[in-house]
Structure formats: C-alpha cells, structure tokens
Symmetry: C2
Subunit: 331 residues, 2 copies
C-alpha cells in the first residue's frame, strides 16, 4: 500500500450495524433513547436493547468507513484505518470494506472487546436511532495509525466521534500531525450534535488550528458557535477553514470556500432510511474536492450520493456512484 | 416450553445467510457453482468464495428455520431445533428467530466449528446460488433433540438436507420416532434436486414409511421417482402420504390429499430474490393444515407467503403474514 497514492484516508470507528425496523416507537422510550440520535452504550445496555429488538440484518457501517466506501464507489482511491477484533463481525467488516474497493490493512486484535456494533432502530418515518457499543473500535491508538498510509493520502478525514475515547483521540491527533507534516489536508466531521455539545471548546480550537475542510449539519454548526443563526455560524466558520460543507436536510447544503458561497439543493428521494445521509454527502464532497471540481459540482455530488443512500435501507450505496457523477459532470 | 403446545416443531440447519448481489455471473463459473442450486462446502471453499464476493448483508436463514418464522408470522405456534456455536453468528441466529416469535432453546456449543453460514449470490434475474458451510449445524445429534418439545408439537417438520450429515440424520430419525410414538405427524421437504439425487432410494423409503406431509418442487418429485412426467410422480406420491404439496414455480402448486387434487395458482409478485420461496410456501401450508383449513385455502396461504418473500431480498417475511391470511380467509 505504501506505493499507492490515496485521495482520502479515513480514520474512524470500525462498526457493524444491526438494523431493524420498528413499527412503533415505544421501544425507544423503554430504553431511554432520543429518536434520531446516536448514543454510545456499554455491552450490557447493548445486550438489553438487542434482546428487545425485532429481527435484524447485519451490515458493515461506521460513519467514516461509509464515507470511504462512497468515495471508492465514485471511482476515488480511499483507505480506512480502524480497529477490529479477530471475530466474525471483524471478518464481516474487513470483507465488506475491501470488497467495496477501499484499502484496509488492519491486523485484527487477538484479544480485548469484540468488534464494535451499532444497533439501529428504523422508525416508520425513516428516522434512525442508534446505540453504539464501540467494543475494540474505541481502543484505536496512535500505534494503529500507519504513517505511510496517512502520508500517501491527499486528505485525512477524521470524525468527531473519535474524540470521545482517550486512545482514539490520540490516534486522531497523530494522524493530523502526520498529514500536516506531509503537507496534506485535514478534513473533519463534527459527527453529531451531542458530540459537539460535549466537546465544544476543543472542537472550536481544533477546527480553527488544524482543519482544512469541515463537515457539519445545521444543528451541529450552530451548536459549535452557540448561536441560533445559521448565517452567523457560517460567518464564523468560513474564516477558520478552507472549505465548509454544511448540510440542512431537505433544504440541501451550503458550501463555503473563501468568498464563495454555493447553496446546493437536495436531490429529491423516496426516503426509506436516513442512515448514512451525512456520510455519503461527505463522500461526494471529498471526491469532488480531490478531483478539483467546481464547488457547485462538489456539492451536487454530495447531494446525489446522499439521495442514493436514503432511498434504501443501509448506509452504504447500492448503485455505483460513478454513474451519478457521470450524469452530473455531463449535464 | 414443556407446558406449551406447538403447531409445528422444525428440525434443521441453523444458518446465517450472507447475501450479495452480483452484477454478472462470472463469479459462479470461477467457483464452479451451478446457478440456482445449493451446494455444501467446507470452510476453505467458503473462505475463497467469500473473499471474491461483493459486500454483503448478514441475516438469519436456514430453510426449516425460515419456515418456522413464517408459521409464527401467520400466528401459529412454532418451535425450532438446531445447533449453534457460542459465537457472534450464533447470537444473531438466536436473537432473530426468538424475536420472530419462534421457540428456540438451544444451548450454544462452547467448542467445535462456528455457527453455519450460507453464502448467497443473487443474480440480476433474481435467482440465487447458495454455498453452505454447515459448521456446527452439521453436528446436530440425537442428544440435541428435546423429547418434550417434539412431543408437544402436532407436526414435526424435517428437511432432506439433514440426511446428508451422519449425526444430523440420526437426530432426524430420533425426532420422527418421538413424533410417531406420540401420535403426531411428520412433515418432510426434499430440500433440493441434488439432495434427492444423492439420497433417492432412502428418500423413497422414508416418504413411504414415515412421512405424512411431503413438500417438493417439480424437479425434486420427478427426480425422486425418476420420471419426466409430473403427473406420474404425483400419482406415485399420493399413495404414500396424507398430503403432498408440490410447487411448480410460476405455475403455482398442486396439493394432493387422498382423492382430492387442488391446483393453486401462484400469487403474482415483482420478483427481487427467490430465496425462501419454498420455505415460506411450506409455512403457509403447514399453518393451514394445523388450522384444519380447506386444502385450497391451505395452498393459497402457501402461495401468498411465497409471493411476499420473493418480493424483497432475504428469506424471511418482512410483512406480517397474519394479514395475508386474514385477506384470504375473509375473501
């Protein structure tokens, strides 16, 4: 892999999702879950929720991993760094990300907690509520970050979720340092409104000092700057980074680069499951930026990828995204 | 569970399916697979095929287990007997079948091969090609068959696949003996044309001596009696069993009981994945027979359940089948 140049290397939690449709939301109340949110939980909580869940399907997930799969589907060169155990879910995660064309060279850990899993409850209105038992993913450490892989990528993409585990936070700082030293870019997603709330001051400093490309949705960016005004948040972030890509759900997204502001509409979709919308939006944007495309096209790639992934169950694309890109670039 | 009366107890391979869509069928040729068939394979073959497969999704399967889930979805009381390991796929299998309302009280084995898995390649024409690594499922033995559970069920349902593993064959014979002694019925599915070919003489004897309700598709029943004429095969089997339920794909099915013959049309469906069609047909028929419904209605329940399961990916129903039953019974 050291000979290979990557467009983007992503550092994130290696997770297998367990998805189940719920016909009424009482299970959320029973387990103290906030609809539409992601929470971290321990094995005992995950076990209790799993026992109460309807039959599910398992498929590989993890926010950054989903984004890397999206970039590969667009035809980009993507790599992933994350931690798995030598168990069945670790085998599933490894198979799926490699079969999707993403470079992944992790050595499964022979001991410790199992491969991370995320219990995803899909409500009838297509919202998803996630409970993540990180397992060994939370033990990602600087030693797990291969310097040659990070240096080989034009951009290192990191998720806010990593900040919440002490070892993973150090791994993330190490990856940023490696990227910076090699003159590469750092991209960062705020991940989740609750994640922003818990780490606000540090995230502001991080974005200002070290991040070149930032991803956030409206709630997250407003929370970061403790303002109710999206315009104000946009004004604050634009001075801190090269590119900010801010999503607004059905209203589409706003991309800011220096003096330029592009408002990009969402692509209409029959929404089946919103899981992965933000992850795939980031894939389109990172792929577009890697190809030096016009900022408006960059946003359109993000919107198209998000629309694809919300039109079916699961957080990874089912249609090859390079076809969507060809349509947009040909238009 | 000993206090509970079951409509049907199923004895079969406990399997987790790994499903992947393939855009062209060259992978079948590369691995010597016959499109539309099921083959047993060892861990090494399964590993090689898995490495070559596109990203997949995991969900619980196993032919008889699928049938039991279908019966529970119809509102019937179903139990399952099968063997799993104390590994992640075993946990998945146990969760899914219990969450579907099926009684399953297996103690996961603490050692031995892993929980069985079936690699399912779904071609663009919706046909599926299956490679099953039975793992510990193939070690089901008479000691794993709980006498009280089998005696508590009006019907014991068994699959031809079990005949192919020495221990499982003994377990199947034990279950039949228990059912017979308790004055209960034995139902049997021929499973697969290749399975019939490999065990023809024994299957003929088994059906004649011990089986009350037999399930087969056209190819399987013709192979059993080595005839090209479906009519002739039908004539042979009707003298051997109480009820024969013979499926003919898009042409529907024929049910025979004594002098009565019912030709039941298939229910039209947008076919996405034919996996589980036979399993769910059996669920409808077994549920209908357990409720002493008219033979024509019994067949219609089978057709409706089969149509539901082929209209989406995966071999277990996504819609509650009791609603389909209510429509048919109300019509």
């Amino acid at each position: 892999m050291s000979d290979m140049r990557l467009d983007v290397v992503g550092l994130g939690n290696a997770i297998v999702d367990v998805l189940a449709k719920v016909t009424d939301d009482s299970i959320l109340d029973d387990h103290g879950l906030v609809k539409g949110s992601m929470r971290l939980c321990d094995e005992a909580e995950a076990g209790a929720l799993y026992a109460a869940m309807p039959p599910g399907i398992e498929r590989s997930g993890g926010s950054v991993a989903n984004t890397m799969v999206g970039i590969a589907s667009f035809g980009g060169r993507a790599g992933f760094v994350g931690k798995i155990r030598d168990d069945q879910l670790g085998t599933v995660f490894t198979h799926d990300i490699r079969a999707a064309g993403v470079e992944f060279q992790a050595t499964p850990a022979p001991s410790g907690p199992g491969t991370g899993r995320c219990l995803v409850l899909i409500s009838t209105d297509a919202q998803r509520t996630m409970s993540t038992a990180l397992g060994i993913a939370g033990q990602l450490s600087p030693a797990d970050v291969p310097p040659d892989v990070v240096r080989s990528a034009d951009t290192a993409f990191l998720e806010g979720y990593l900040w919440e585990e002490p070892h993973a936070k150090q791994a993330m700082l190490r990856a940023m340092e490696l990227a910076k030293e090699a003159g590469k870019k750092v991209a960062f997603t705020l991940s989740d409104p609750f994640c922003v709330e818990r780490n606000r001051a540090e995230f502001v400093e991080l974005v200002e000092r070290s991040v070149d490309i930032v991803f956030a949705n409206e709630t997250e960016i407003c929370s970061l700057f403790q303002t109710e005004s999206f315009e104000e948040a946009l004004g604050r972030v634009r001075s801190m980074v090269d590119v900010a890509a801010l999503t607004r759900g059905e209203k589409g997204s706003v991309l800011v680069q220096g003096d330029r502001v592009e408002e990009v509409p969402a692509v209409p979709a029959d929404v089946v499951d919103t899981t992965g919308a933000g992850d795939l939006y980031a894939a389109g944007v990172l792929f577009g930026l890697a190809r030096d495309l016009d900022l408006r096209i960059v946003g359109q790639l993000g919107s198209a990828a998000a629309a694809e992934v919300i039109s079916h169950v699961g957080a990874r694309p089912e249609q090859p995204l390079d076809r969507l890109a060809a349509e947009i670039l040909g238009a």
